[in-house]
Amino acid sequence: MKSWTSFSLILTFCGFLIQSALAEEKVSFSDSELALIRSHGPWPVPTNPDPSNRFSGSEEAIRWGEQLFNDTRLSGEGNLSCASCHQQELSFSDGLTRSTGTTKVDRNTIALANLRLNRWFGWAGRSDTLWAQSIHPLLDSREMNATAHIIADRVINYEDLKANYQALIGINPLSESPENLMVNIAKILAAFQETIQTPPSKFDQLRRAVTDGASIETNQAIVRGLKLFVGRGKCSLCHFGPNFTNGEFHDIGLPYFLDNGEVDTGRYGGIELLRKSPYNRAGAYSDEPIQSAENNPSYFMRLQHRNWGEFRVPSLRNVSKTAPYMHNGTLKTLEDVVHHYSTVDIERLHADGETILQPLNLTDQEVEDLVAFLETL
């Protein structure tokens, strides 16, 4: 009995030694992996003002936009602001599974950052501009529960709001239609939100080290995680580019039933809503010349059956600070997210789902490595 115990101990010790040796093995990258790593930078990405929003990039609009972002007077009951859910100290998110305004909504609060790089907004991409997306929570009865008339009344009746409006827009709010006034307020809110950017991260240093040979001391677990991310994990295909998103929509096998038994249609519903919306990029409220607006992806968007159950690929920049994860906030930690992809049930995918999505069957060590890498973003 004693010899068996000793034998087991020796075996365990050898296993530990082998695992340690493998763990410390120097990681090398193929040319295609290096190309993907390069594509994740440089950071930050230079951006231009939004042509559909005449206040985009205006210092005055950004300043007032920040005040309005924190102003509860824009909500129906005067008790909620954009910052109620998009809290700066929580990376402009709220840490909750699903957002709660006047009542609980169906989806997780998206952390606001690097928004000027998006071509679609919201989990279902129901907006093709940031200012249009900013209108939805204002009007949604479950969120801020306002109306264009309520917002117009507040701007007209509060002296500070009225003075700011007149100074920035050059029009007495009394002579504006409520709809125009609300759109202008949304554009000013967008001007501020565009300025929320994540700083260069530890990953950006690692990227330079790996691709340009710059020296960096880093945990090998992170480097192994990076290799999984751009290699076997194929994460980079959807979480592509400097902002770690291809900006599009995919079905990743998450449940899409809502509390009431209805289905969250995801991207399918998003396209339908955008088509009906008067607030789209080529619409009457946009400041962009029509020829330019018609040369944008949203002009060519296509409604497909496969869009059911698809949700926007979120950016992974700053991801360790924006838990919980996924459109419905059901995955609490990055470990949960990695486990999801490791054991993804492809039977749950929509019939036209991604054939590239297969369970990764990661070892515990690989899960740890991938999480260590994600934490550098």
């Binding site: 295909l237 291809n246 900006g247 590239i356």
Partner: protein, 139 residues
């Protein structure tokens, strides 16, 4: 008026020359895409030429000597089982020369460009040709 006609004729010649030059057989190795079906060759020229993931682009399609019209254009990722999230619009510029706007490849990897032409024959029968060619979109 005479000058105007001359100017228009010159423009037309220029266009035809451009279309014709895109039909040369030695376009391999350039950014042209030479596609073949049933012995017919057509040439597709992307603009901008260096296609990047996530960027909108258009193509010019020269049917060369094929007397047909372009009826469908699309692109798919065979390994992923999906196509583009966008539907390009086809515009006829002149007989045999088309423009298709609204292409966007949202992932790096191997894409397959697909195109269909149709000609209604004198007996009322439709003659369709399907062209396809793989394109590697690098990160």
């Amino acid at each position: 008026m005479r000058y105007l006609f001359s100017f228009l004729a010159l423009c037309l010649c220029g266009f035809s020359a451009a279309a014709q030059s895109a039909c040369l057989d030695d376009v391999e190795g350039t950014n042209f895409l030479l596609m073949e079906s049933d012995g017919h060759k057509i040439v597709v020229t992307p603009n901008p030429q260096n296609k990047k993931v996530g960027e909108l682009f258009r193509v010019e399609i020269s049917l060369c000597h094929l007397d047909s019209e372009v009826t469908k254009v699309s692109a798919i990722m065979p390994a992923h089982g999906h196509g583009m999230n966008y539907r390009p619009q086809i515009l006829s510029l002149q007989p045999g020369l088309y423009k298709a706007e609204g292409f966007l490849f949202h992932m790096p990897g191997l894409w397959e460009f697909r195109l269909e032409t149709r000609k209604v024959e004198t007996d009322g029968q439709s003659r369709r040709l399907r062209f396809q060619k793989k394109i590697l979109i690098t990160p």
